[in-house]
Symmetry: C2
Subunit: 457 residues, 2 copies
Amino acid sequence: MQKIRSGTLAALLLGSIFTPSLSLAAPADNDVIREAALKDDVAWDFTEGLTTEVGPRPAGTPQEARARDWAVAKLKALGFSNVRAEPYTMPVWVRGQDEARILSPFPQNLVLAALGNSGSTSDKGIEGEIIYFPSIDALEAASAASLKGKIAFVDHGMGATQDGSSYGYYGAARRQGPSIASKKGAIAILIRSIGTDHHRVPHTGVQMWADGATPIPAAALSVPDAEQLVRVVKRGQPVKVHLTLTSKMLKDQPSGNVVAEIPGSDPAAGVVVAACHLDSWDQGTGAIDDATGCGIAAASALQVAKTGQPRRTIRVLMAGAEEVGGDGARAYFKAHGTERHALAMESDFGADRVWRVDFKLPQGHDDLAKRIAMALAPLGIGAGRQEAGGGADIAPLVKAGVPVIDLQQDGTRYFDLHHTPDDTLDKVDVAQLRQNVAAWAVTLNLVANAAESMSAN
Amino acid sequence: MQKIRSGTLAALLLGSIFTPSLSLAAPADNDVIREAALKDDVAWDFTEGLTTEVGPRPAGTPQEARARDWAVAKLKALGFSNVRAEPYTMPVWVRGQDEARILSPFPQNLVLAALGNSGSTSDKGIEGEIIYFPSIDALEAASAASLKGKIAFVDHGMGATQDGSSYGYYGAARRQGPSIASKKGAIAILIRSIGTDHHRVPHTGVQMWADGATPIPAAALSVPDAEQLVRVVKRGQPVKVHLTLTSKMLKDQPSGNVVAEIPGSDPAAGVVVAACHLDSWDQGTGAIDDATGCGIAAASALQVAKTGQPRRTIRVLMAGAEEVGGDGARAYFKAHGTERHALAMESDFGADRVWRVDFKLPQGHDDLAKRIAMALAPLGIGAGRQEAGGGADIAPLVKAGVPVIDLQQDGTRYFDLHHTPDDTLDKVDVAQLRQNVAAWAVTLNLVANAAESMSAN
């Protein structure tokens, strides 16, 4: 995670001698773009519109289709070129009823949400005794005999971090927990929500069944409910729970990406992709995940276009089906992977301020990184020491070697809201959203107009 | 609201000349009691136990009966005397299914909770067009013709206040809104939750049908859902909603109060009542409303008892059925109203720190008020200019002229949680809970041991 490339970034951090800009855009443009972007209304307008007029838009559902129609109309109205939906099909998991109740020793309801691809109970539900694990490691270490016929309950201690790095470690309870529990013979699994809030809003999220793991009902308790269940378990008496988690799987449902462009003057110079995802989880209206990301990508491309046609085409990619495994990203790569991509960026970590920029540029592009860092500095954004990695929507491009820049957003409160009913418009801070647009706009401007090749050698 | 009595409080505030204490308790006792109470574990232990081992405990339900059993056992174990439940019966409203969905123009679910005594829809629900009112006053001013056959939606702009005073004004949307809407021919009413948070946790609460008002389905939208519905309405197209709110009314269900005493040495000196309520709303576990209040009342009485037998009996009253209209308070007054009551106090506004003390003492008790204010000052509690009024659990006593002292709690975040699923143990701050116990303990100590008569003349 702390890998530092020997080239671009190290030179930047060590203070390479400033060399005259190779950019086609005049230096003054960045100041103009930044100041205009700090007054941007497009990102808010996009976010407000998508979350209000479409609302929740789970992958492969009619709501996601409405989101595509909405986005195509909106992007055309905003003046983008080549706006179109690019369809594909996919299997879809659909939530049913989510209910849980402690039967004994202290009868009371629990608030929870099934995880993506959860197995389904019958309408009448199931009953079982809780077996408690303080961590995913404890579940992993448990004997299969101890889990047989029981409901596994996996706790953890995730706390807030600015860079969201704890999601990787603690998120394993959601991603791997169900498969581990199933293989050891548990009849269901409950996890403490992978979240940092204390509200009765459970954090759902996708999990994939490992080879050989039979789907079992799998759900996340809200953090207060998980803490309640821990207190009940620690009283020492057997804890019996009734669980109703109904859901269904549908085959070959329509999904799709939405693509829109600011055409560049030099088709041979490669495309700059500005990505986000259009789908959301079903419980909230997907404001910070990821309506804002799409608003930021679209608004910043338009801020660049206002100063004139860029050298490179800026292609906004609003991917479908990010939340459930990245079908949209794969479909995009299948359709466009052979085109020349100069750079890929993605906004999918809320809309709080950008605080750090990370690069993964080809050898010989130190000066471009330096110009970008200088343009971001007035926004309170420092250059990081980590290599940029992108996100799910551009993962196939990054894997294929396309350069990437990450404008890292402040994630301190991101996991208070992530995948919960609470991911709604009121959580978006307009001032911070505009700072995002400004950071994206100057970065896109410098990359789209860079005289550099954007390729090694 | 700003009424100042000519006697006790005015003299206190104007700085009456200090007169030697008439208290039987040595002045040093207050320091000892305050310091010990700031390390109190009983209030937390009570709150943790009741919310974990009973959880939600709606009035007149088996859960409330479990709470009585739990409290009787706990208070006996804590060493109280004359511990008993005092039963009565009452009609009970029971929540069923709460579901709402915008059908057009932008289909999506809304999160809401039926209000107490709401009318019930059939299992299939009802459909209707929304008619929007920005305030209860706008609803009141509307013509009956405009509401006929529609679903009224009442918005408002309640903000947080330290003293909770805005609940009186804005709470009218919940208390009177349903009756007004029903009388004007609305088929249902939705209100913006009477709350100050931005979470998908609706605030329920009781409302009583006015004479001549037919019960209609009545519910509170969570604040984010209310704001979403406002945005949808303001798009200008007709907004059609589907509403399923099933509930039922039961007659003559068992409820009851729990009473426990620290017996005083002078039975003729009157009883000091320390009140709270044992019932809670059904959505949360009733931590701040009002497990903490009961924890504070019990713990502070015990802190006083630790320094020796008080002159007056301290009677802890854990009332039943406060949330639905005060049946417990009335039952207590019916059973005990003819006994001599020296003072009544109530804790029912969360567990954040006490910041102000208000008095309503008989003429000639200025010195007692002064002694209390001096004992509270080290806890950061100032004397207020308002007359104390008590709360629902002691309302019949106060109405009958029993003196009352209010230890006002900081309500800034109270209406983030009030009557929501979010009223859970994790919201209780132990340090502030202990400050409450300390404030109550020194006040109870001074009143229970006061040489004054506690009556006028």
